[in-house]
Symmetry: C2
Subunit: 334 residues, 2 copies
């Protein structure tokens, strides 16, 4: 038998109305009661029926996640964090993929203007150097919250990690392990997240007097082009002895190329990746990683969006939430 | 500048109307012309605006993918296959996650009855032992195509892999490597895919006279319970010397438990996983895998659904498409 609001009310000795309002994040209910109800609901496996709820209110009770791709453990974890928050408040969650295309992103956002969703959680595409489509949507009273790949110039909540600092620490770590020719492999410079990581890398090189070999490489979304870029870099006269991979999927590519070219990691090349990949420690060699708090970022972003929806879009102050990443040192940089 | 229908028409010396109809998969246009137009559209990077198109036709031009979870490389690849087909025909794709909950799956399908989407691609949850919600949706003229985790009793297109055969071959491989106590670690027996794999495993044991140690273990969706099941099994008196993991995420769990319990893979335990994970070869030890043709399965399923939509749901014959998996032998079973 599935858990009902009545069962939660009975367990907590609260009225059905109070539990219902608490689950809907009503301002009439105290923070403490909301927490109590939310914990009991989670424990008892309560699942709200968003359909019934949307019929009552005449709203879509749906939020959308717009992200560049799905084959990335950061986004998979972030989605789980978003859904944990949204489902408990009775929201449907739709996921849309832009496949790193600005055109696609524009078409998706245009579709939202028809009222399909109440609000949006977004991580922009590599190509997004123009934000008119996002501004237009926000002006039509559909709130947008950014996470990870944010547009800093737009006036809304952004949930990010300490990209400058973690890249700075990562670069210093490679230098401390003896690297003097460190390459930074990233994606589009349109992205604030990439610019921040690049700046952390450059600052660390500067402070260590290693700016002569400043090598920021943009790989882009095409797999074959990226492979060629790696192969050229690793067979060229100025081969790096350290690499920072800013994109998870580059790890498999680099491990393969090093095997093919018989380049030993870590004795000939030290490697560090920004990734949430849960098998990094079991790779051969085990991979040094910068892990973003993806699940937490998803929860924080979803909470901010639902708050905008339950109060009023115009009341919420724009803010930037910065959550710390975790660096784990393993054999690939030893 | 973005590619327009006019530019494609000009390049192919066709009329704008012909190109437009070909892209909409109109029955007025020949197969050859459709292929020509589709290839040119892909080459020239044409992206259709589904919004404009849906305004003209008064349809949502949206299909939904309903899957249990996102943190699985099979589903990530299958989604990419689905989107490749759908986007070219101007469809929006929405992704919904059931988190292995039947209640959640029912709520999502109920929502679809409001006309939010034109058709559904679906892989059912572990808990789905009742298909009333799917039948009801199909009866309301929303076509459903299953892939991977199918409901064999429902009268529609199913896209699957050769689960019995690949599990049979996998079990025989472990036996040929000297294993005599092979455990099969799967998820819910509600799922046809799991039953087929279990049957392949049992048949191989039988043919080799090893049925005394027939050990099918259901891990379920709770991570901690699964960890306990693994730990109990590996510390018990009847410890297996071979394991087939039917679920990708069990691999990381098992590698961790073996490290903690100081059980060596492969000398003390041989391991094989059903997974599409692209770093299996770089694990320590490298992992023997059964890889499903996920991208292709997605393409085939989406093509079948769009065909149902462009003709008429009632005209399309139900069929089961079986695509072969690929087994790659690596050190974890050597």
């Amino acid at each position: 038998m599935s858990t009902t609001i009545k069962m939660i009310a009975h367990k907590l000795s609260l009225s059905v109305a109070t539990v219902s309002k608490a689950l809907a994040d009503s301002h009439e209910i105290s923070k403490e009661t909301k927490l109590l109800v939310s914990n009991a609901a989670q424990e008892m496996g309560y699942v709200r029926n968003p359909y019934a709820s949307s019929l009552r209110k005449g709203r879509s009770k749906t939020i959308a996640i717009v992200i560049p791709e799905i084959a990335d453990s950061f986004f998979a974890e972030a989605i789980n964090g978003i859904e944990e928050v949204a489902l408990l408040q009775g929201y449907h969650v739709l996921i849309y993929l832009t496949h790193e295309s600005l055109l696609r992103e524009q078409a998706i956002l245009q579709d939202f203007r028809s009222g399909r969703v109440d609000g949006i959680l977004m991580s922009v595409s590599e190509e997004t150097n123009d934000t008119e489509h996002i501004k237009t949507l926000m002006e039509s009273q559909v709130p947008v919250v950014f996470f990870d790949r944010v547009c800093e110039e737009l006036n809304t909540t952004c949930v990010v990690t300490d990209d400058f600092e973690s890249s700075f620490i990562a670069t210093n770590h490679l230098i401390s392990k003896g690297c003097s020719k460190i390459a930074f492999m990233g994606n589009s410079i349109n992205l604030a997240i990439n610019r921040n990581r690049v700046n952390g890398y450059i600052e660390a090189l500067k402070q260590n007097g290693l700016s002569d070999y400043q090598n920021v490489v943009i790989c882009g979304k095409d797999k074959e082009i990226s492979q060629q870029i790696f192969a050229d870099l690793l067979s060229g006269p100025e081969r790096p002895d350290g690499m920072i991979l800013s994109v998870e999927k580059l790890s498999a590519m680099l491990y393969q190329i090093c095997e093919d070219m018989m380049i030993d990691i870590p004795s000939q090349l030290k490697v560090l990746t920004f990734t949430n990949f849960n098998m990094a420690q079991f790779l051969s060699p085990s991979l040094t990683t910068v892990k973003q708090p993806a699940f937490q970022m998803g929860k924080v972003a979803a909470t901010a969006l639902l708050r905008k929806l339950s109060f009023n879009n115009t009341l919420a102050e724009p803010e930037t939430v910065i959550l710390p990443s975790v660096i784990t040192f393993r054999k690939s940089t030893s």
